[in-house]
């Protein structure tokens, strides 16, 4: 249809001469959306590549075997058989401890890692002083994270006490494989030789520790193939097996999920940009009617005409997309600085051609297809317009049944759905997203229609002239009420939805952390130490908020069926989740529910259950774990507590606020049931002055070296910092959407600008004052702004509710005042842009404008 000869192409180029900049401005509406897509795709590709390159080093081997309890003899002999086959094994035992430097009297909660001499198989430990890693095993040495020295006011060469063991700090870790990430904030790492672990005497009964063995396979052995026949045997021994590829895939999946979410924001930005392109090109098309009519007189076919302008739009769209891609690459190179501390690996930033090309293609296509819609109207411009010019609106009117228009509309919808399908995690999500976008657009179009109808219906001749004129502009021929409402409303919708989601998701953390009643938690307190720790805390004058017993156990059977007989399902499927069936439970017993839990189903233990031991004891389960185990009220669970079977029945379900920093448990027993079980304790104390926390920790650790304690205030600060960063990131995205909305708004308003300027000048010639014209524009644009802002606001409350409720699964509370604030800013922006058009009315002399008309 569009036979573009070389000369027509050059005509297209020359004809665009003065309009090029304006057209580029319209097409640049898509730039920011492209930038978002390119930046996020490139950066996540960089992360995934880095994960791939570093995953062996992060794990330290090709395979790892983990258990939270000491390996059973059967496990050890299985591992021995591997080692006889020539597979190298290294052991890492990780456990928490209070680190004490006697010289400075500093104490700090830390993560101790006892490693064998051959660890790690992959990656290098870079130390300061250099090359001291191998010296670790020459004696009772320790190599620590630099942050430990800072908090303990210590230095290399100092003596370090861990439990009952004494070590010499010989170096700090400058760079270990993988990035430390958030974990370091909770406890700095301390590496000690594996053979000195016993000296600390910290690995006593029930203490939290992770025993892990990493394996190095012969070259060119696929870890997954290798472990396949052995996996079941390890699992039966309660040992978790992980391969490098699994870890790689899990990290990549997590990164992809995150980038998909951000990508969706980029996609919506692109869509909003598309709307901007459409309304901008509509204004552009109106300017071109005269030229097209002349071209038609001179023998141009409708195909040639369309070809000329589609070429121009496509070229400018590509330039706009390229600018966006450039910006995206710039953002990609900035991201590692912003994300430092959040990433699982050191990310090497490189250009990702595929991401750039995808951004260019998607952006260029969206720009073109949205531009095509208004451009189609140019086909029908009659050459007769050279002799007798109708209004722009009449010339450009297309019938609903116009088949190219129907085709373009269909292509537009299917492009949006196709791109959503490409980006979203699941087809279902893509359809939801397209559906939500469709609903938003439909709602905005309907409200614009209602506004036009209402303006026509209720306009009264008694109103002041300027108001009547402004209101009438909303429904007169050639109005842009729909386009402006759509751009405004969609922008408002996007920005406030992001805001509401951020507020609702982050509010949870903030309120929960603030409500905790204690701030220092002591754990790994042995049965015979509980009274001692309790009395130290009280003697120092602090409140003991909670002293909870902890009993470790595993599930032996559910409703008479043993775990071995059950067929567990992977996470997310209906049935009993394998992780929940196999995990080690740390349960407690209490007489009353704790302050951070409420019974939601059934009844808390009655006086009978509290008083005496019965054959089948009562337990209360947390809702979430009950769902994972697929159990309900009245089901029977038999527990294996240190080899003793304890039958129980679920008599209540609880909802637990996990984010409150208080000792919380999946399973709570009626006290008589566990009275005789071996246990240890967790103690939560409330120390008002932050400076006293360290002193109390030191006092306890001096008396009971195996008792670890955490200062929740510092953890809370860390969480606050992370939440702060996350909300900064979301605010950045909201601001970004705002930045997207501005060019779109300009494009939408410029569609009416020409008509308004022409009218304004005519009114001026007829004697209208500057103030009168400004008020006419004010009436029109304030109505448009209020309508767009208000509809967007209502839509965002619906959208925010859906996202918070169904994706983040937390309760939703609308924040009307800030959202109304966002709507007000949108209204202000609309007025500003409208009045800028008014300024042009006064810049042009009546003669020039009328001659132009």
């Amino acid at each position: 249809m569009i036979g573009l000869s070389r000369s027509t192409w050059s005509l297209a180029w020359r004809e665009s001469r003065t309009a090029r900049r304006r057209l580029l401005l319209y097409m640049s509406s898509i730039s920011l959306g492209v930038a978002a897509l390119v930046a996020i795709d490139s950066f996540s590709a960089n992360i995934i590549q880095s994960v791939k390159e570093q995953s062996r080093a992060i794990m330290g081997g090709d395979l790892s075997f983990n258990s939270s309890t000491p390996f059973a003899p059967a496990t050890d002999s299985l591992l021995d058989s591997l080692s006889r086959e020539g597979i190298s094994l290294a052991r890492v035992t990780t456990f928490p401890s209070m680190a004490v430097v006697p010289r400075t009297a500093g104490t700090r909660f830390a993560q101790v890692r006892g490693v064998t001499e051959n660890y790690p198989f992959y990656g290098t430990m870079i130390t300061d002083p250099a090359d001291t890693w191998r010296e670790l095993h020459e004696g009772a040495n320790a190599i620590v994270d630099p942050s430990l020295l800072t908090t303990l006011n210590a230095q290399v060469g100092d003596t370090l006490k861990l439990g009952f063991g004494t070590f010499r700090i010989i170096a700090t870790i400058k760079d270990a494989p993988g990035a430390a990430g958030i974990a370091e904030a909770f406890g700095p790492r301390i590496y000690i030789p594996a053979r000195y672990v016993a000296e600390t005497q910290l690995l006593v009964f029930g203490s939290t520790a992770d025993r892990s063995v990493v394996a190095k396979l012969p070259p060119r052995t696929d870890p997954d193939d290798f472990i396949k026949p052995l996996r079941k045997r390890f699992q039966d021994l309660q040992v978790r097996v992980r391969t490098v590829t699994q870890t790689e895939m899990r990290t990549s999946d997590a990164i992809e999920n995150l980038s998909n979410f951000i990508g969706i924001v980029g996609l919506v930005a692109l869509l909003l940009g598309g709307i901007g392109v459409a309304s901008g090109v509509r204004a552009f098309v109106a300017r071109k009617i005269d030229t097209v009519a002349v071209l038609r007189c001179l023998g141009a076919s409708s195909g040639q005409v369309l070809g000329i302008y589609v070429t121009q739009a496509a070229a400018m769209g590509l330039v706009g997309a390229a600018a966006g891609a450039g910006l995206g690459v710039a953002i990609q190179f900035l991201l590692p600085n912003v994300m430092a501390g959040f990433l699982p690996v050191d990310v090497e930033v490189t250009l990702v051609p595929q991401a750039i090309l995808t951004g260019l293609a998607v952006g260029g296509w969206i720009a073109l297809i949205f531009a095509l819609r208004p451009l189609l109207a140019l086909r029908n411009v009659s050459p007769l317009q050279t002799l007798r010019r109708d209004t722009d609106a009449d010339v450009l009117r297309l019938r609903w049944t116009d088949s190219p228009r129907i085709i373009v509309n269909l292509a537009l919808v299917s492009s949006v759905v196709a791109i959503a399908l490409l980006r979203a995690r699941t087809p279902e999500q893509a359809l939801w997203m397209s559906g939500a976008t469709g609903i938003a657009i439909l709602a905005l179009a309907i409200s614009a229609g209602l506004l036009m109808w209402a303006a026509r219906r209720w306009l009264r001749s008694g109103w002041p002239y300027v108001v009547r004129q402004g209101v009438a502009n909303l429904y007169r021929p050639g109005n842009q009420t729909r386009a402006v409402t759509l751009a405004l409303g969609f922008g408002a919708f996007l920005i406030s939805t992001l805001y509401l989601v951020q507020r609702n998701v982050l509010r949870q953390f903030a309120t929960a952390a603030a409500e905790s009643r204690g701030n220092v938690v002591f754990f790994d307190v042995q049965q015979d130490q509980a009274a001692g720790v309790d009395s130290i805390v009280r003697r120092e004058g602090y409140e003991v908020v909670q002293l909870a017993p902890v009993v470790t156990m595993r599930i032996a059977a559910i409703n008479g069926k043993t775990v071995g007989e059950m067929r567990p399902v992977p996470p997310g499927q209906q049935g009993r989740a394998s992780w929940a069936l196999r995990r080690e439970f740390r349960s407690t017993f209490r007489e009353k529910p704790g302050s951070s839990e409420v019974v939601t189903e059934g009844k808390w233990f009655g006086p009978g259950a509290l008083r005496e031991r019965v054959d089948t004891g009562e337990i209360s389960m947390e809702e979430g774990i009950a769902e994972e185990l697929n159990v309900k009220l009245g089901d029977n669970i038999t527990w294996n507590v240190q080899g003793v079977g304890i039958p129980t029945r679920i008599t209540s379900l609880r909802k637990v606020t996990w984010t409150r920093f208080e000792p919380n448990f999946f399973v709570v027993f009626a006290p008589p049931v566990l009275a005789e079980a071996p246990k240890q304790f967790v103690l939560l104390a409330n120390v008002l002055e932050p400076s006293s926390v360290a002193l109390l920790q030191r006092t306890v650790v001096n008396r009971f070296p195996n008792v670890s304690s955490l200062d929740l205030t510092s953890i809370r600060r860390t969480v606050d910092r992370i939440v702060g960063r996350a909300s900064l990131a979301i605010r950045f995205m909201a601001l970004f959407s705002f930045a997207v909305a501005i060019p779109v708004l300009f494009s939408a308003v410029s569609a009416t600008r020409r008509a308004r300027v022409r009218e304004g000048v005519l009114l001026k010639t007829l004697g209208a004052t500057r103030g009168q014209i400004a008020r006419i524009l004010l009436a029109e644009y304030s109505l448009l702004g209020v309508l767009g802002g208000l509809t967007g606001m209502l839509l965002s409350i619906g959208g925010g509710w859906a996202v918070v409720r169904y994706i983040f699964k937390t309760p939703f509370a609308p924040a009307l005042v800030p959202v109304a604030g966002i709507a007000a800013v949108i209204v202000g922006l609309t007025l500003l842009i409208g009045l800028l058009a008014g300024r042009d009315v006064f810049r042009e002399t009546p003669i020039a404008a009328l001659r132009d008309a």
Binding site: S5, S7, T8, S10, L11, R14, E15, S16, R17, T18, A19, D290, T291, A293, V294, L295, R296, C297, L298, G299, A300, S301, S302, G303, Q304, S382, P383, L384, T386, L387, R388
Partner: protein, 229 residues
């Protein structure tokens, strides 16, 4: 040869049908210089639009070199215009974003004629604007713009040129020169010229005058001459 046979054009205005032209018939032989005159609202411009194939009649036929314009599609009419028809308008209708020379090139480029630039330069030269080829329409006076428009109209050596009030926006002296230019192009090149005007003096200098009133032909000097002969 241009033939109009019982051409009627009606417009729908609300539920009323308004006939702008009623049963207009005439034949214009190749090489003629015809003026269509009449007061404002008599249907001159509508007739011009129909004769040039910019629009189609409600009833009747317009034959341009034996092609029935009413039976052609919009794009076929466009091709025919590109090959055989030239236009000059009262408001010049130059494309504002193109230079004078480029405006003249447009019809050549639309047809893909080779050597478009040379031909355009030659035409610009012939209308006496050799030095002004690289100026934009806004930098040219009204008379100069109309000369560019005439050069553009002759770019494809059309068999017939339609001029709608070509001197209407110009002062008397400039208008005079434009008219002379049209006359010389008519006598030198043999192009048919159909001029629409309400200027009686200008019309009187054409070889034939067709007068319209309320959509009907009320006078045709050719018929008078013919009956006199």
């Amino acid at each position: 040869m241009l033939i109009a046979r019982e051409v009627t054009k009606e417009y729908q205005s609300g539920d009323q049908t308004i006939a702008v032209l009623r049963d207009v018939s005439f034949t214009i032989p190749q090489g003629a210089f015809v003026a269509i005159v009449g007061p404002s609202g008599s249907g001159k411009t509508t007739l011009l639009g129909l004769l040039a194939g910019l629009d189609t009649p409600t009833r009747g036929t317009v034959l341009l070199d034996e092609s029935d314009l009413g039976k052609l599609t919009e794009n076929e009419r466009a091709r025919l215009r590109g090959e055989k028809v030239g236009f000059v308008f009262q408001t010049f209708q130059l494309i504002p974003t193109l230079t004078a020379l480029e405006n003249v090139q447009v019809p050549l480029e639309l047809r893909g004629t080779p050597g478009a630039t040379e031909r355009a330069r030659d035409l610009i030269d012939r209308v006496g604007l050799k030095a002004r080829g690289h100026h934009f329409p806004s930098q040219l006076s009204g008379g100069e713009q109309q000369r560019v428009a005439i050069a553009r109209a002759f770019a494809n050596a059309p068999k017939i040129l339609f001029a709608d009030e070509p001197t209407g926006n110009l002062d008397h002296a400039t208008g005079e020169r434009i008219f002379e230019l049209l006359q010389s192009l008519n006598s030198d090149g043999g192009s048919t010229i159909v001029l629409v005007t309400h200027d009686a003096t200008l019309a009187s200098r054409a070889s034939r005058t067709i007068r319209l009133l309320d959509g009907e032909v009320v006078e045709d000097t050719d018929l008078v001459a013919g009956s006199a002969a």
